[in-house]
């Protein structure tokens, strides 16, 4: 209370100084002081009150009308004062929300963590970096009893909390499927059903599901960003063509299943659109840029390649990560 009184005295001094000298320094210091006023909840109407006081002190014989003018102004400022006070509450709420979301993001991280499976002859690398706090990309590895591995990679269209909940539903649904049904097209058909039933039509999901066993990759796609096959023999990258409707749009959808044989030195690259549609300044990258970087680091371990790719993009000076970024690489050796 004392301190506030002092602030107000300072303000009056600055005002008097300005009246006699029109000094820029007084204005500057008044600006600093006002910032402090706002923090201390001193409102515009109180500033006007100070002015009335200075007015009366400086011009004891002033027309009463001029005081009325200031009183009118003071009344006007009440509404502005209220708006400013609301601001503070809104800020606090926003801060609380931030804390809550960061807590939720942590839970999501542990909830959706998936350990890399160990498969003979296959080197696996994966990186997934959310654009905001909550990740809307989802990947999961399953190890089958027959020595096969399943790889799910999904992108939830829609962000934030709803996407996170939706993702945990997918994970839960997928784990509840009986293992003998673990064919990519079956899994997508069933997931489509679950998503269609449970999720608002404004939200949908793209997914690629792949199964690897003994050098053969079987996969199906629900409208997902196409994967890439690197053929060592021809030293060429090919798109993994696959047709299929995104999950959650239509009730009964069946998915085609595709195959790709892998030989030593071949690679499979699975990704979400966040990898190729990043923005660098005003430019959007093409898949070509991705392949160039992969080719440069092809000799490395799969995990090093994916990290290398992310580092490359992230280090671009005008890179701005708009979307969640997930990249999986399988290297047959």
């Amino acid at each position: 209370m004392k301190a506030i009184m002092l602030d107000k005295e300072t303000y009056k001094q600055l005002l008097n100084q300005y009246i006699s000298t029109q000094d820029e320094g007084a204005l500057y210091r008044a600006e600093r002081l006002t910032r402090n006023f706002i923090k201390k909840n001193i409102l515009p109407e109180e500033i006007i009150d100070l002015h009335i006081q200075v007015l009366r002190e400086t011009y004891p014989t002033i027309y009463e009308e001029m005081v009325y003018m200031c009183q009118f102004l003071l009344e006007t400022m009440i509404s502005y004062g209220l708006a400013i006070q609301e601001n503070e509450t809104l800020r606090e709420k926003q801060l609380a929300m931030r804390t809550e979301i960061s807590l939720a993001a942590n839970i999501q991280k542990t909830l959706l963590s998936s350990t890399l499976p160990e498969v003979d002859g296959l080197d696996i690398g994966v990186i997934s970096v959310p654009a905001k706090q909550m990740n809307g990309d989802y990947y999961h590895f399953v190890t089958g009893k027959d020595g096969s591995i399943g790889i799910a990679l999904a992108d939830i269209i829609g962000k934030g909390i709803p996407a996170a909940l939706c993702m945990s539903m997918i994970k839960y649904a997928m784990e509840s499927f009986p293992e003998q049904l673990m064919n990519p097209n079956d899994i997508l058909r069933r997931l489509n059903h679950v998503v269609e039933l449970n999720v608002d039509s404004s939200m949908f999901i793209t997914m690629i599901y792949a199964k690897y066993k003994n050098g053969l990759l079987t996969y199906a796609s629900a409208g997902h960003e196409p994967g890439i096959y690197y053929c060592k023999e021809t030293d060429t990258f090919y798109n993994l063509k696959a047709k299929g409707l995104v999950l959650g749009v239509s009730t009964d959808v069946s998915y085609s299943q595709y195959e790709q044989e892998l030989k030593a030195g071949d690679m499979i690259i699975l990704l979400t659109d966040g990898v190729t549609e990043y923005r660098n300044g005003d430019q959007f990258a093409k898949r070509g840029e991705l392949l160039r970087i992969i080719r440069q680091s092809m000799k490395l371990k799969a995990q090093d390649i994916v990290e290398n790719v992310y580092q490359h993009f992230n280090s671009l000076s005008e890179y701005y990560q708009q979307d969640d970024f997930t990249l999986i690489i399988l290297k047959k050796y």
Binding site: M1, M5, K8, E45, E46, D49, L50, I52, Q53, Q71, L74, E75, M77, I78, S79, G81, L82, A83, I84, Q85, E86, N87, T89, L90, K93
Partner: protein
């Protein structure tokens, strides 16, 4: 002036009259300019609340004199349908009908004490008190 006074609120000009009465009470209690303006704004808000949730009501003023403390108590009451979700009405950033910062949260900020009771089907009653502080005259 009497120490109690009521104004019935039915038309917009009643608000102006209520503000006048409230201002007179506030001046009598020697509130500072800022506090007087806040009291007037509070009267607008609670009158507005009557229009929002009922058709008519009344606003009563009473000077409070207690142990070493003086203040102005304002009670607004109506027999309208009541406010269903007081919690929401009290939340910041929620009221859209009025300017930013207005509404019930605004009243609460401007006054020293605030109390609202609303019974669905029976009506709403808002009681606020503004206490005179010894340093009020100095702003």
């Amino acid at each position: 002036m009497d120490s109690q006074s009521c104004v019935s609120i039915q038309l917009e000009r009643d608000i102006i009259y209520a503000r006048q009465i409230g201002r007179q009470f506030a001046e009598q209690l020697q509130f500072g300019l800022v506090e007087i303006a806040r009291i007037a704004a509070t009267i607008s808000e609670i009158a507005n609340n009557i229009f929002l949730y009922a058709e008519k009501g009344q606003i009563c003023f009473q000077i409070m004199e207690g142990t070493g403390q003086k203040g102005l108590r304002i009670i607004a009451s109506d027999v309208g349908p009541g406010i269903k979700n007081i919690e929401k009405a009290m939340e910041d950033g929620y009221s859209t009908s009025e300017g930013l910062g207005a509404g019930l949260p605004g009243i609460k900020r401007m006054m020293d004490e605030f109390e609202i009771t609303s019974i669905v089907g029976e009506g709403t009653r808002i009681k606020v008190i503004k206490w005179v502080r010894s340093c009020d005259n100095e702003g």
